[in-house]
Symmetry: C2
Amino acid sequence: MSGHLAVVGLGPGDARYLTAEAADALAAAQALYGYAPYLDRVPAQAGQSRHPSDNREERARAAAALAHAAQGGRVAVVSGGDPGVFAMAAAVCEEIEGGPQSWRAIELVVVPGITAMLAVAARIGAPLGHDFCALSLSDNLKPWALIERRLDAAAGAGFVIALYNPVSRARPWQLPRAIERLRRHLPASTPVVFGRAVARAGEEVRVATLAAAHEEPADMATLVIVGSRETRVIARSGRPPLVYTPRAAEVSA
Amino acid sequence: MSGHLAVVGLGPGDARYLTAEAADALAAAQALYGYAPYLDRVPAQAGQSRHPSDNREERARAAAALAHAAQGGRVAVVSGGDPGVFAMAAAVCEEIEGGPQSWRAIELVVVPGITAMLAVAARIGAPLGHDFCALSLSDNLKPWALIERRLDAAAGAGFVIALYNPVSRARPWQLPRAIERLRRHLPASTPVVFGRAVARAGEEVRVATLAAAHEEPADMATLVIVGSRETRVIARSGRPPLVYTPRAAEVSA
């Protein structure tokens, strides 16, 4: 009766970026839990129950999936991108730690996926080609002062910075504030990549400078990559520019 | 005659972690370039030429593939993991920037893959569940002083740290030195995950503490994840422990 729970990464959207491992884990599940728009990406299958939930309900969703699996079921929780990066795998672990002992007996499998920063980087060249960090701009679960401290540390030490959750309807000012903060550390000409809905309908990838980045539209479907002092732009006639960070770096970075 | 070059991520190893997009890009190529052990992972195909090269020859490999594509061919460069993370996509961009104008006319496509830190994290829970960075410990292309500065910045600001290229035959002391450096910032009990050959033959995942991490064996096939002050270990009877970083953080981190 110990059950099985798979936390499955769907990748950026298009099924062409799903791994075989993920597709099989979804097909083998008796029950699927997830944020409704992510569940909608999974083909319907006879005999499989579906349990959609709202965006902000990660803990309740994780607990419901664990309770289901603990009864002996084969359950999958779907996650956009990679489940381990600002997504459902940590929420499931939190619930296991705080939940009944029986939840620790469940066979937990995390199936990795292509996380947004990899998909956006691939579309524009190789902006993550050297040391980089991934930082969520959501201050729902951490104070804004900590986010600023991390922006300072990362930019100051020469990391390229991938910004997850840059904007939501309830968080309109965080991205402009972060851009402004990063200008303390980085030249105005630093390349900033905006990737929206990459590998989904309406995909859009734009390159701005740090000085002009506040003029770029961004929403919940956007991932932002802020270059380091080393990041370069290659102009190409008749093709979009390439943005990349060389593999070599100097100590002055 | 502008040609086509795909830089394709193979993921951690097992073909079950390859995306359909990557498999199709490999099948469509007339010529494959890559580090020999990565090329060996790609099924042979009639009429497709293969150009294996050595580990340290990224620039020459990138230039050869670009020259081939510039003659109008359909060429793929294979990369372990994700080509944009310490891999071939940046090397190709470097060669395009420094090469003839005709290389800028090539249609360049980067196909993302599951990079090692995502594969290792998935096997052990969700250690990358909150803000994290990826740092190469190779000082072939950057000075060791810069690596130490980045370790200080990342650990001091509460990022989880994924260490790529922790050890090679020519670089035996860098990982112990990095572990020692991180002890200035993090408690002795901080969890450290060693993932070796994940999703390949001989896979091994171990959890140590920062105090004992120098005793763990590591090699070129190893990826190391050093937790933050927030990273937690969940003991499970009859199952391996889970390591995860909660989604919430305090300003004291």
